[in-house]
């Protein structure tokens, strides 16, 4: 673990922002998450990699309870994830999520996609919400598309809007579930650049990805998962140059050989 205790700071800033304890989940007979323990510190960027079916997406989705867990405990900023209801909705508002398939609201304009959360969930006035949305859209470089519908944008643009939509809720942590896997190759970098910029600004991020370049550039820590377990975790430098587990060596051998 990289976290170092800093005695002078108050408990809320040394306490991990996201914490998983002995989390287990099954899909029928398949044990997709096995005794997962994970702490993510405030401002930390954690990249989760691993072969398909290793449980990394499920892990990511469990953190805002889009997947329920069978046992164990997940806390966000000290609060245990509640059951479905108002409390959970409130907590989800603090956790930004970016999906593989963008999932922009198909019947709403780009601008409305970004303002909907602040207005309907946080009760922000439409005027300030619009200003906020436009500044976020500008930040990810799609402010000139604000009046269009999602289907009129390229995949890379849609995913950047999805990032802006999540940021509009001013989340404490952002989850990225394979954000570039559905993109054409030439659009991957525009999304990764937005993510790197976000990481540099100190956003706490948990990123499930196959983009090793992103892990090298932006991650504080790399988590390698296989068969529903965290096999190893290390700094990107250490993980990519000196993986310890055989599974990790095998995985890296397969993806880095070209």
């Amino acid at each position: 673990m990289t976290s170092e205790a800093q005695p002078s700071t108050p408990a809320s800033s040394t306490r991990p922002l996201v914490s998983l304890r002995k989390v287990n989940k099954h899909f029928g007979d398949l044990h997709v998450l096995r005794d997962i323990d994970l702490d993510v510190a405030r401002g930390e960027v954690v990249v989760v990699i691993g072969p398909s079916g290793s449980g990394k997406s499920t892990l990511c989705r469990a953190i805002n309870r889009l997947e329920t867990i069978d046992d164990g405990e997940i806390t966000i900023d000290g609060k245990v994830l509640p059951a479905e209801g108002k409390e959970l909705a409130k907590l989800r508002a603090d956790v930004g999520m970016v999906f593989q398939s963008f999932n922009l609201f198909a019947h709403k304009s780009i601008l409305e996609n970004v303002t909907l959360g602040p207005v309907k969930v946080k009760g922000m006035k439409p005027g300030p919400a619009k200003d906020l949305a436009m500044s976020l859209l500008k930040r990810v470089g799609v402010d000139n598309q604000a009046q269009k519908l999602p289907a009129q944008l390229s995949g890379g643009q849609q995913q950047r809007v999805a990032i802006a939509r999540a940021l509009a809720m001013q989340p404490k942590v952002m989850l990225f579930d394979e954000p570039t896997s559905a993109l054409d190759p030439e659009m991957i970098n525009e999304v990764l650049d937005a993510m790197v910029a976000l990481a540099k600004e100190g956003m706490t991020m948990i990123v499930v990805t196959h983009e090793m370049g992103f892990a090298r550039r932006a991650a504080d820590r790399v988590i390698f998962m296989a068969d529903g377990q965290i096999m190893e975790q290390a700094t990107p430098e250490e993980f990519f140059t000196n993986p310890r587990s055989d599974r990790a060596k095998d995985f890296l051998g397969k993806i880095l050989s070209h």
């Binding site: 909705a89 922009l104 609201f105 019947h107």
Partner: protein
């Protein structure tokens, strides 16, 4: 021919159709409201509401409309003395609307549910992920897209409803078209076939524009993905 035209002097055919239009209009509005609520029940995360929605749909969809409307007149009105207006005819008219609405609500519910199936799961997940709970997510994200995907099946329900409004005769709404047709056939048995064709044509004229309109609207309003 003169014989045939004289029918229209004796009997007010347009007025009878107007009764069907009014029955259909009000029943359609109530069926849409009730059907939407039922669809919400069926997609809600609460098991007892899901159960109620499913039970309602299965009971009303599988009961003949004639029985529902006859029950409205004989059961609600005659036996239980439930009256929805001070005037007898107005009360029967409203009970018929109620019966038509309750029956077609089951079909509206299923049409909307088929519309919900056109909305990818990711839309609901994204709505939940930004902190919307079930009702706001349904109202703002799921239902608007579901309705646009359900225009064609909803149009089919409306077409069925308009034609089914003739069953209101079973609820003793004697002024509607099939009631008038029965009277006309009784008194002018020499013109049975022209009378049938007149009413058939009347309904075709009423219904065709709805089919055209819903086809056009479902293309026009389809959600681009």
């Amino acid at each position: 021919m003169e014989n045939y035209l004289s029918l229209f002097e004796t009997y007010d055919v347009p007025a009878a159709f107007w009764v069907n239009i009014q029955l259909s209009f009000w029943a359609a509005i109530f069926a849409l409201v009730i059907g939407t609520v039922l669809a919400l029940f069926r997609i809600s995360p609460i098991p007892s509401l899901q159960w109620f929605g499913a039970a309602y749909v299965n009971i009303f969809r599988n009961t003949p409309l004639t029985i529902i409307l006859a029950f409205g007149f004989l059961g609600l009105f005659s036996v239980m003395q439930i009256s929805l207006a001070s005037d007898l005819n107005a009360s029967l008219f409203r009970i018929a609307i109620l019966g038509l609405a309750l029956y077609h609500a089951a079909f509206v519910c299923e049409a909307i549910r088929s519309g919900v199936n056109t909305v990818p799961l990711g839309q609901a997940e994204a709505a939940r992920a930004i902190g919307l709970s079930f009702l706001p997510a349904a109202r703002l994200i799921i239902l608007p897209q579901a309705f646009r995907g359900a225009i064609a099946p909803l149009g089919n329900v409306l077409i069925a409803l308009i034609k089914n409004s003739t069953v209101a005769a079973a609820g003793s709404v004697a002024t509607e078209s099939s009631g008038l047709m029965k009277t006309m056939i009784e008194f002018r048995s020499d013109l049975v076939i022209p009378i049938f064709l007149t009413f058939a044509l009347g309904f075709v004229i009423l219904v065709i524009p709805i089919g055209l309109l819903t086809t056009w609207a479902s293309r026009r309003l389809a959600v681009a993905r």
